[in-house]
Symmetry: C2
Subunit: 315 residues, 2 copies
Amino acid sequence: MLEKIIKMTRSEQQGAPRPVMLAIAGDSASGKTTLTKGLVEAVGPERCLSICVDDYHRYDREERRALPFTPLHPDCNYIDIMEQHLQLLALGRPILKPVYDHATGRFTRPQYVEPKEFVIIEGLHPLSTKLTRACFDVTVYLDPPEPIRRGWKVDRDCRKRGYTEAQVLAELERREPESQKFIRPQRRFADIVVRFAPIAGRDEPPGTPLSAELLLRPTIKHPALSSVLTDDHRDAIHLKIMRDQDGTPTDCLHVHGPASQEEARHVEKAIWEELEATHGLPERIGEINPGDRSEPLAITQLILLYHLLQTKTGA
Amino acid sequence: MLEKIIKMTRSEQQGAPRPVMLAIAGDSASGKTTLTKGLVEAVGPERCLSICVDDYHRYDREERRALPFTPLHPDCNYIDIMEQHLQLLALGRPILKPVYDHATGRFTRPQYVEPKEFVIIEGLHPLSTKLTRACFDVTVYLDPPEPIRRGWKVDRDCRKRGYTEAQVLAELERREPESQKFIRPQRRFADIVVRFAPIAGRDEPPGTPLSAELLLRPTIKHPALSSVLTDDHRDAIHLKIMRDQDGTPTDCLHVHGPASQEEARHVEKAIWEELEATHGLPERIGEINPGDRSEPLAITQLILLYHLLQTKTGA
């Protein structure tokens, strides 16, 4: 009987086209949704599905009160079901995704989700197991310095989720041991580690736009970017070699936040043209909030777009 | 990447023991839950999972009001997700099953379900597609005469679900075209068709226990029952050949409702012993409600137990 199932599953797989799968992992408020939003808009929502896989909780908020761990702990989540659903999506098949309502802390009606040409999976745990990692073509880990992430989390949770600053800071404290144990170790499994941060060692005045550092690991083939990595654009973008946390020499693309918008736009257009894009640069790429742009974010998104489109064409 | 997933899935499959899968299909109120209950009790709930797969609705009750079909229509259900979940269970893997609350007509928190040694799947559609059928070792279709089923449905829906008799009859009427089109065709895919009914052509006084007719199709190997299919027990049980609805000659086991309980019990013990059971006959086998027993139901359950245990040992 197993044979029958495998046979049928195989023939199904031949039918369903496989999507390009991109993981965007990172701790709470590390910028996953902002990064994803621009990518979906650039590819087109009709061709790109994005889902957040933080809804695979084993317990609702009420039940968690009696338990010693935070939602960051794998035992607090149905990691096996998340693995299963990622595999299904990677094979081009639909899932019935659990839905956790962050407003009430309870589970609601599950959602039928079908993969599209591109699937972006963002969340706390998408790179946490061997099996989940096997589902992705490209993997990203968002790694802002902790003080920056804390600021982002306080800002968002107070503005959008109705918490007080003291509550958010207490929650960050409570989660810290599990962040360290279960979230940050995923950094080592990403093809690209993205760090939005002030330039190290420089005393930038308040309000200076953050720069981006992209560790480009050799686990996938990165764009040559030959038209932008020239001396002309050195103030906006340059590639250097650095040592990764574990000492491995790694390519690091530095995108300079304080560069002029004109210069940044020039770089963006050049990358976009390398993608052999048939239409103009996507308008809302680099957008943090309506009216609030980051050129380093735009350039990061363009590099990820490169990977999505290159994987699609099999180049 | 597909290769990586298949490789990992295979090694997972080697790890998880595969359960024996039994389908019990049939229309609403055809006796699926009653039949299942005795099987679970006989095998032991710690070794046997039973689930009803009627929760894969695409719409809740409110949404269905605006739609032209009943829950019997495949388009009203996520048949693809049901297929997927049956495959996963058949491979020994857990699922996150949707849960539809029949009291409110809405979806609630999904349920994490892990297969056990034996998995019994009951519902309206478990034999409706090639892929679902491929998931089962043994398949049963419950086929009571329509007047009997209607009586059961009126009785149950009025007593347990708070409907009036007129409401239930109207609903039966409304569902009839879809019953005919989508439920009854599953009869042809069952290894065993079970029909609880009065003896045909005989004018039995009211209150006479129903008999059972079991079509035993050659798609699986049936028990020889050599110790019970003798002239001694002919009043309680006998095997005959008949033509199936499509004319195919088929074995039909007739279990006589009006036989004495003593005789029926003797037959039950003999079948139970053929199973090489190490403990006594399960007490609640044949139970319809507490205090209300049917010997033909008990004998039907024993034959299904035979199949469960034989498949398990690979005999």
